[in-house]
């Protein structure tokens, strides 16, 4: 049908344009890191250079910010993952109005502007004479990142067969053993994903960090202040590195996913074949 072909073509064009719209700015930003021009640009192209990378490497303040960012991210993971997991397990066993209420409280930080989270965190802990700093940034970020972890784990909990817990209890396991050997292994994919999400969400957080960091830098704050004060393509160099890491991570994930998919299809087919083979002799014997 002609109409269908045309609409398909239009869609494909739309997708291509959208992808370009999404990815081209990143290309330009990365490209400026390689251009020997004081002001980050791709045109006019002066010449290939790596001096911006060198400058980046020698930028002590950047390294401090980098270290701080990683530290905060690890702290956030260390807090958000246990909290989110515990909250998911808890809310899963609660019903009725209590569940809706708890759920509402847990989701609220996600729907709250980062600035508000940052300011309220700053004010609240200031009351206990806790000064602003990276620890406050970690706490502020955890308030909403834990919710992401909770959602992931809660979703995974839905596919958990409660009978497994009962079977383990019935066989004599203690509660701790049940959680450790039966429940948590089932949740590991969600917990792993949650940890990854927590880490990256923390690294890229800006709004909350801005208000809670005190005098400390994180990467996002550092980039922000550099852009405001006087940019050179060193920022682009940093951007290019981060984009490249992201792309490599994406490729690795895609390859792993494809391999896992192929393996899954193969073993499912195998199980089906074996099941059919088993049924035959029984059918014969029962005659």
């Amino acid at each position: 049908m002609g109409a269908r072909k045309i609409s398909r073509l239009l869609f494909n064009i739309y997708v291509a344009v959208f992808l370009a719209y999404m990815l081209l700015p990143l290309v330009i930003m990365g490209g400026a890191a390689l251009n020997d021009s004081r002001f980050p640009s791709v045109y006019p192209w002066v010449g290939f250079t790596d001096r911006w990378f060198v400058e980046l490497w020698e930028d002590g303040r950047m390294w401090v910010a980098f270290r701080n960012t990683i530290g905060v991210a690890l702290a956030v993971v260390a807090m958000a993952v246990p909290i989110g997991t515990a909250a998911a397990i808890l809310i899963n066993s609660v019903g009725g109005t209590a569940r809706s209420a708890l759920y509402g409280f847990m989701i609220a930080p996600i729907l709250t502007p980062g600035a508000v989270i940052g300011i309220s965190t700053l004010l609240f802990w200031n009351k206990f004479s806790v000064p602003a700093g990276l620890h406050l940034s970690a706490i502020g970020q955890t308030s909403y990142i834990a919710a992401f972890v909770m959602l992931l784990v809660l979703a995974r909990l839905q596919s958990f067969d409660r009978a497994l817990e009962e079977a383990a209890l019935d066989l004599g396991a203690s509660h701790a053993q049940v959680v450790r050997r039966i429940l948590l292994p089932h949740l590991y994919p969600a917990i792993g994903a949650g940890a990854a999400i927590a880490f990256f969400q923390s690294v890229e957080n800006f709004n909350t960090t801005l208000f809670t960091r005190g005098t400390y830098d994180t990467l996002t704050v550092y980039v922000f202040s550099r852009v405001r004060s006087g940019i050179t393509p060193t920022i682009n160099a940093l951007a290019l590195i981060l984009v490249t890491i992201t792309i490599i991570g994406a490729l690795w994930y895609e390859i792993a996913r494809r391999r896992r998919q192929a393996h899954f299809d193969a073993s499912a087919a195998q199980a089906r074949r074996e099941e059919e083979a088993e049924a035959l002799p029984v059918a014969v014997a029962a005659q």
Binding site: F11, F18, I91, I119
Partner: protein, 294 residues
């Protein structure tokens, strides 16, 4: 509670409850309450805090309502955030439909991956990228000049248009994914049935697909609006003298004036705005809070 104890025993239940309580109380509820309370107290030097001058009043809020500039900025922030939300929807919807119904299923994960790259690259870099592009001597102007569409470089970084462009780019994906999920869950047979009954494509969308996607639209709209209204990076980087964003005023109070009390009042106004928006969306689209969560 008894269900939990039965399932996990007392010590584990206590652990779960303690962690959850710490999160919800110390990290969420109490700080917000304190923000609210603080917004009614005057900005005082440390020695006077708790003393006779420390009375509750609406002064901080009056500062806002008596300042025509601040009211105007608040107003524009709402308007432009709404525009950004609508634009994001307009751009994302066709793509969401394509990904969930038209594209071959083998291609979809790869496409998603490509789309996720800008998301993973982080907001600051997304904003920065457009800062470069929209510069007076930037590639956009060069491209347009080169193509002959314009004959003089356009000052993109003026007024609100750069902010809108930046915000749309930065947050459009947050509209795309909820929309995708919502459309995905629609049984394709329904679309085919509508077609079979003679419905033209636009009517099928209007009467079948869009209504079904309401939770996704609400979720995406809430997310984009909240992120836009509360955005600091984009409006600051891509701003000009004629455009101010409400978050910038909050920053002023907090950092330049060090007046945390007025700052918290303004922050609370921002939070109020977002809460009102969420509630309105929930009513209009008749969705619940659970639907909005990813």
């Amino acid at each position: 509670m008894s269900e939990l104890l039965r399932r996990y025993g007392a010590p584990l239940t206590a652990t779960f409850a303690a962690l959850t309580a710490f999160w919800l109380l110390a990290l969420v509820v109490l700080p917000y309450l304190y923000l609210f309370e603080n917004s009614f107290r005057p900005y005082l030097p440390v020695v006077d805090v708790g003393g006779p001058k420390d009375v509750y009043s609406l002064d901080n809020y009056l500062t806002f309502f008596e300042s025509p500039i601040h009211i105007k900025v608040f107003f524009w922030t709402i308007i432009y955030s709404s525009i950004v939300t609508v634009l994001c929807f307009a751009i994302a919807y066709p793509l969401a439909y394509y990904l969930s119904k038209v594209a071959k299923s083998a291609v979809v994960p790869t496409l998603f991956l490509l789309l996720l790259i800008p998301l993973w690259v982080s907001e600051i870099l997304r904003s920065f990228a457009w800062f470069i592009i929209l510069a007076l001597k930037g590639p956009l102007n060069y491209g347009l000049l080169g193509l002959g569409i314009i004959d003089q470089p356009v000052r993109w970084l003026s007024g609100f248009r750069s902010i809108i462009i930046g915000l749309v780019y930065t947050y459009v994906l947050f509209m795309l994914f909820p929309l995708y999920n919502a459309i995905q869950s629609l049984d394709t047979n329904q679309i085919e049935a509508a077609e079979d009954l003679g419905s033209p494509w636009w009517r099928t969308h209007w009467r079948v697909i869009l209504p079904h996607s309401k939770p996704g639209i609400a979720s995406g709209a809430v997310t984009v609006f909240m992120l836009s209204a509360g955005s600091i990076l984009v409006p600051t980087l891509l701003a000009s003298t004629t455009s101010r964003w409400f978050t910038e005023i909050i920053q002023q109070w907090m950092f330049e004036s060090q007046d945390w009390n007025t700052g918290s009042a303004y922050a609370f106004l921002l939070m109020l705005l977002c809460t009102v928006f969420v509630t309105v969306m929930m009513r209009v689209f008749r969705v619940s809070l659970a639907d909005i969560a990813k």
